[in-house]
């Protein structure tokens, strides 16, 4: 992997997202963080930055390493941490950090739709993605994995885990799945239990709330 691919900086409108590639060794991460803090200092100073560690776990020593090598020397404004590892999410929350997509201010909420999250990977058991806005998973959501979105959720692969669309109470959110094998789907304030014997089991489906019911329809374009 080249150094350009090891840590990516992406602009997200007013904020920056710093993505640390998942396959990097611990030693390589330390070196890359120091390099980025030094080479991109003018870009990072006072900028709002989301640190995205993808599926990597973050423990106390990694947290200290990131703060000492990147956050403090660069002068960035750390907005939030992102990781799919649930234990790391809880550790960071306990440590007082914001985890996941940072909440937008009310004025910004009204003026523009929330950004979508496009995830090019599968989620394994024990991994969780939370996002304010729509989520598209270009991969599978395995049994034991979870996706929570305030907007719609689309899964391009097989869904066996839990998805909760419109988790802030939006019953108008929808779920689209290419290969439906989940036993439960949540939309807004409703929970629906699925049946393995249903005719659409294993097929592409669109799931939405219709009146008091959760409706599952085979999805054909």
């Amino acid at each position: 992997m080249s150094s350009e691919e090891a840590i990516l900086l992406r602009s997200n409108g007013s904020d920056l997202r710093l993505i640390v590639a998942e396959g990097l060794s611990r030693e390589r991460i330390e070196g890359e963080l120091t390099r980025v803090a030094s080479e991109a200092q003018s870009l990072l100073r006072d900028a709002g930055v989301i640190l995205d560690f993808q599926g990597r776990s973050i423990d106390a020593s990694m947290l200290r390493c990131v703060l000492e090598r990147l956050v403090w020397p660069s002068g960035m404004k750390l907005l939030s941490w992102m990781t799919l590892d649930v234990a790391s999410q809880e550790f960071l929350r306990r440590s007082g950090f914001v985890v996941g997509q940072p909440k937008r201010e009310a004025s910004r909420r009204k003026s523009s739709p929330p950004p979508s999250c496009l995830l090019f990977r599968s989620l394994r058991s024990g991994q969780r993605l939370e996002h304010e806005g729509d989520v598209v998973v270009v991969g599978h959501v395995n049994d034991g994995a979870e996706v929570f979105a305030s907007g719609n959720i689309s899964v391009w692969g097989r869904l066996q885990g839990i998805v909760h669309a419109g988790y802030e109470g939006d019953d108008g959110a929808r779920v689209i799945v290419a290969h439906m094998e989940a036993l439960q789907v949540r939309i807004g304030r409703r929970v629906s239990y699925m049946d393995r014997g249903a005719p659409w089991w294993g097929s592409p489906v669109l799931i939405r709330v219709d009146g008091e019911s959760v409706l599952v329809e085979e999805f054909v374009i």
């Binding site: 998942e22 396959g23 990097l24 060794s25 611990r26 599926g55 990597r56 776990s57 990781t83 799919l84 590892d85 790391s88 090019f120 990977r121 599968s122 394994r124 058991s125 024990g126 991994q127 270009v138 991969g139 599978h140 395995n142 049994d143 034991g144 692969g157």
Partner: protein, 268 residues
């Protein structure tokens, strides 16, 4: 050869991690490699029994870490196979007796003297697993072809990926071809479809495993039973040999679902 530290893990208990560790350790040692098998299941040690070395244990892994003995004093040499050693777990302590950084230091020390360091992980995803995985570069995930074991394996694979272990390869253990044919057991391609990692071998269900475990004589010592041949083939694939899958292993699919897996970015 580059010295390799490999953790054998599964998440779920009872899928055959310890049997696999013992058989691979013997097979690699018989192939001329210097091997140490570490029992990282502190408090519930089993690897010594499966290897038939339980009566020769004086010191344990915890004694080494606490400085009560030197590493060489705790290593138990197998008299039947040249170059095979066991570092036993303590039976009277708990998994909290060891910290991940201590385990990593121990594995790094063993790496100096051995071609292969095989770490037999306890079941679960807590401290015992974290300890076992901490010193390893790569991982072998053992799963039986049933949904609960596969789901636990999926969880463990996610954790191993998040810890930066690579490669992570799969052993499907205790496959019963008759049940697969009758549709009462997951097929290897079903397991691969979910777990989406490289398959390094499939071990058929074999009654000889029970006998060998009770006798403390791993099958790869001298047996030619189907499981023995499967373990021996896995050991050869570990060192990079191209070994075709056994007949029972031909159930593994490299067809449509494998291509779908790769399209979704899984390694393998």
């Amino acid at each position: 050869m580059i010295q390799r530290v490999i953790v054998l893990t599964s998440g779920k208990g009872g899928v055959g991690k310890t049997t696999t560790t013992a058989n691979l350790a013997v097979a690699l040692a018989r192939g001329g490699h210097k091997v140490v098998a570490i029992d990282a299941d502190i408090g519930l040690r089993n690897l010594d029994v499966v290897l038939g070395l339980e009566n020769r244990i004086v010191y344990s892994l915890v004694d080494v870490i606490e400085g009560s003995c030197r590493l060489k004093q705790a290593l138990v040499k197998d008299k039947r196979v040249e170059n095979l050693f066991l570092l036993p777990a303590a039976q009277t302590r708990t998994k909290d007796a060891v910290k991940p950084e201590q385990m990593k230091a121990l594995c790094d020390e063993l790496r100096e003297d051995f071609d292969f360091v095989l770490v037999d992980s306890p079941a679960g995803i807590e401290g015992g697993f974290q300890n076992a995985a901490s010193g390893a570069d790569e991982a072998l995930v053992v799963s039986t072809p049933d949904m609960s074991a596969v789901r636990d394996a999926d969880r463990i694979i996610g954790m191993l990926e998040s810890l930066g272990k690579s490669p992570i390869r799969l052993i499907v253990n205790r496959l019963r071809p008759n049940m697969v044919r009758e549709g009462n057991m997951l097929d290897v391609s079903d397991v691969l479809d979910i777990l989406a990692i490289d398959l390094i071998g499939v071990v058929p269900e074999d009654d000889n495993v029970v006998t060998s475990t009770n006798k403390g004589e791993p099958l790869t010592l001298n047996s030619t039973s189907p499981a023995a041949r499967a373990f021996d083939n896995i050991s050869r694939r570990l060192i990079g040999e191209e070994v075709p899958l056994l007949d029972v292993e031909s159930l593994a699919s490299t067809g449509f679902m494998a291509r779908i897996r790769r399209a979704f970015g899984f390694k393998g």
